[in-house]
Symmetry: C2
Subunit: 84 residues, 2 copies
């Protein structure tokens, strides 16, 4: 059975590079990768926060959170949610 990896992003240039290069480099035979755009799919924000995501882009594999470079903080994304 494949393991699940979740990539959280917000459409930022740093996020796009991470998705196209690093996430795309994961082994498709061992991982099912789900891509979550936290700016558009705001209902996933609490789940990301609970997983330990502090900023995007972030990749969660095996319950481990990997913050990859830095695009935006989760609190910024939450503020955008609140004000829109």
């Amino acid at each position: 059975m494949k393991k699940k990896a979740i990539f959280y992003h917000a459409g930022c240039p740093v996020c796009v590079t991470a998705e196209q290069v690093l996430v795309a480099a994961l082994d498709p035979n061992r991982f099912d990768v789900e891509i979550v755009h936290l700016g558009e799919d705001r209902g996933r924000l609490p789940e990301a926060e609970q997983a330990g995501v502090n900023s995007v882009p972030a990749l969660v594999v095996d319950g481990q959170v990997f913050h990859i470079n830095y695009g935006a903080s989760l609190s910024e994304l939450k503020q955008q949610t609140a004000s829109s």
Copy 2:
């Protein structure tokens, strides 16, 4: 032909987790991964710096640098080199 990915680290706990979970998740059919311990292989410090590595752990794929969480800065590693 496989692409080369280089993982720079310094043996820190954050580095070990990144290596065991994220680097291990890369597709072995498409990538040859080289693991470089910058604390032990100090001659590789200039190369890492030139590639754009600011901190470890970092993974360089396709000329793109991905800083993964944060273990230590490259300048700290360089200072250790100078003082030992």
